[in-house]
């Protein structure tokens, strides 16, 4: 390779993302997919449903990026960045689909940067403060297990776009769960201190888990139409996965998921979401006319 060559092509168009070290998932998952709404599906419902799933991913990614330059090992920075990139990729596709479905033509950035916290539809566990590494691992374990169970069902969605997004995402989510699982074992069955931190993380986060399986009316309608998945249907499956992981990690078997009402899915959030969105939206809001 010559330096001159590198410079001579600088201003030219370039194709493909193959030159990133780890890949970015920028490839178009929707290439060749029919984007017309399937018959009988309410576009407003589908748009809200896509925001729910997209916001879970976007908000979780926003929490994860802070581990980059702050993790216990460089390998964990690479892995957590990878997971955040996957989730960001899922969020972008889902939010773009929301803008197609509701007929407004809003793009991914309209949803990410130009909504207030009451319009965000993520579950509150995704916005929970970052805390220590044990908390990050347990949060990821719970969220990836639940999301994998839901997306596995969505791969058969009647909406071809949602089905294509889910088909790509299940491989990513299986890796996220595997990563979280491997660290749950190391921390739970590592030193007395790491065990204690993991027990504390499970105790702190457990009250937020019930909401993951509370069904919002939009989710119920989408599931009834064969477009979405009812989170209540994956409750037992996810509990069984978590029980197996936590007990293998020498922790106590977890309590049942608490009974909880829908909260984040209706835009009712913890006070943690506003500062998270302030940071996410800061530059975009300072320059409303700008193009990036």
């Amino acid at each position: 390779m010559s330096g001159d060559h590198i410079y001579s092509v600088l201003g030219e168009e370039h194709g493909g993302d193959t030159r990133w070290a780890f890949g970015t998932g920028f490839t178009d998952a929707l290439s060749g997919v029919d984007t017309t709404l399937p018959g009988g599906v309410d576009g407003q419902d589908l748009a809200l449903y896509c925001q729910m799933l997209g916001d879970d991913a976007l908000v979780q990614a926003q929490r994860l990026v802070h581990w980059v330059t702050d993790a216990p090992e460089l390998e964990e920075e690479v892995a957590l960045a990878n997971i955040a990139l996957d989730l960001l990729g899922q969020a972008r596709l889902l939010l773009a689909r929301a803008g197609q479905a509701d007929g407004t033509g809003r793009d991914e950035d309209d949803f990410a940067y130009r909504r207030g916290s009451a319009e965000f539809r993520n579950v509150r566990l995704a916005e929970a403060p970052r805390g220590d590494f044990a908390r990050a691992v347990v949060t990821l374990l719970v969220l990836s297990s639940a999301r994998l169970a839901v997306f596995t069902r969505l791969a058969d969605s009647r909406d071809p776009v949602l089905a294509a997004i889910a088909a790509k995402a299940v491989n990513e989510l299986a890796y996220h769960r595997e990563y979280a699982l491997s660290w749950t074992l190391r921390l739970g069955d590592g030193t007395p201190y790491s065990h204690e931190r993991t027990v504390a993380a499970v105790a702190d986060l457990w009250p937020f888990t019930g909401e993951l399986f509370a069904t919002h009316p939009v989710e119920a309608r989408m599931a009834a139409q064969g477009v979405g998945a009812d989170p209540a249907d994956v409750r037992e499956e996810v509990h069984a996965v978590l029980t197996q992981v936590l007990t293998t990690a020498t922790l106590d078997a977890p309590a049942p998921f608490p009974e909880a009402a829908v909260a984040g899915r209706e835009g009712r959030h913890t006070p943690e979401l506003d500062p998270l969105l302030d940071e996410l939206q800061k530059v975009a809001r300072e320059h409303p006319e700008a193009t990036w």
Binding site: M1, W20, L74, L85, L88, Y193, W292
Partner: protein, 323 residues
């Protein structure tokens, strides 16, 4: 890990030295198991580990903007880029380990301030335009420095550089593309880009190191073919390549002495402020303390996690051995 200097009877060093010199002169690669002079090994350990540290510390100025990137596409690109830098750090630490040093020890030297990294990362990134300008100028200067290192005499370093250069050139294009986009945007965006170029231009020129006359290590490194060009030659090449790019972008490089010299076939340009350079190298730059402190804090905060991983691995290898 122990050093792998070949054991030889007294007097045999001369033969080994002659063999090493012949290999280097013939542009063949020196590999970790080959005999090498102690000075060569020491120079490489210093250079490769400083290079690795630069990748790791270099994650911070841009990493600060991931959370606030103004579009999801820019957020993903920036996150992927900073992730690549962590990966480059990992390849380079692995290359350094082939010389008989240990990554944990190198990390310790970094966070105790005993080893340096590229001074450019001690400047602050103040606006999102800095993300583009760091990609264009800082990665651009790094590529100029690194492309010749793909032919470095030490095999593991040369091979790591081939991969790193490919990725860096992609980063540089992403940076330039962001700037093109911003220059087509609002007047405020164009002012942000120009302000950023004004702040990063001189520090980028300093990335090539002090003038040749004041660079004591250059001659020996060139003789060993660890390094292939002098600091001043690389700096000239960078300026010549960058001027037309700046024109295409529509920004002004902040150097009144910058002019094409027909006779030389190169641009003439002003002298960077070497007093400032020395201050930043010696630790008095705007961000030196903060950059190292952040890495130190992450390392110490993560100690219990690394201990847990070790304890888990020990328990489970003991169980497997017993089974």
């Amino acid at each position: 890990m122990t050093t792998q200097t070949a054991q030889a009877p007294p007097g045999a060093d001369l033969d080994l030295q002659a063999e090493f010199d012949a290999k280097v002169a013939a542009d063949r690669r020196i590999e970790p198991r080959d005999w090498m002079p102690e000075g060569y090994r020491r120079t490489l350990v210093r250079q490769v580990s400083q290079h690795a540290h630069s990748e790791i510390i270099g994650m911070q100025p841009e990493g600060d903007w991931i959370a606030s990137a103004p579009s999801l596409r820019r957020k993903a690109i920036l996150l992927a880029k900073v992730q690549d830098e962590a990966g480059h750090g990992l390849y380079l630490y692995a290359a350094a380990e082939t010389l008989g040093v240990d990554r944990a020890d190198l990390t310790q030297r970094l966070i105790e301030g005993r080893q340096k990294y590229s001074s450019i990362f001690n400047y602050p990134s103040l606006t999102f335009a800095d993300v583009g300008v760091i990609g264009w100028l800082v990665d651009g200067a790094a590529i100029c420095n690194q492309v010749p290192l793909c032919r470095s005499s030490f095999g593991p370093y040369a091979r790591a550089m081939v991969r790193i250069c490919k990725e860096e050139s992609f980063h540089q294009r992403q940076g330039y593309e962001l700037l093109m986009r911003m220059m087509e945007g609002t007047g405020e965006q164009r002012r942000m880009v120009q302000d950023s170029v004004d702040r990063w231009w001189w520090p980028s020129l300093m990335m090539f190191g002090p003038p040749d006359a004041e660079s004591p290590n250059t001659q020996q490194s060139m003789a060993w073919r660890i390094k292939r060009d002098t600091n001043d030659d690389l700096r000239q090449k960078f300026v010549d390549m960058t001027v037309p790019q700046a024109e295409k972008l529509g920004v002004t490089l902040p150097d009144p002495e910058l002019v094409w010299n027909e006779g030389r076939g190169h641009h003439d340009f002003g002298e960077p402020d070497w007093t400032e350079f020395k201050q930043v190298v010696s630790g008095a730059g705007p961000k030196n303390a903060e950059r190292v402190e952040r890495r130190r804090a992450a390392h110490e905060k993560g100690a219990w996690v690394r201990e847990a991983a070790t304890a888990y691995a020990d328990k489970h290898s003991a169980k497997e051995a017993a089974a």
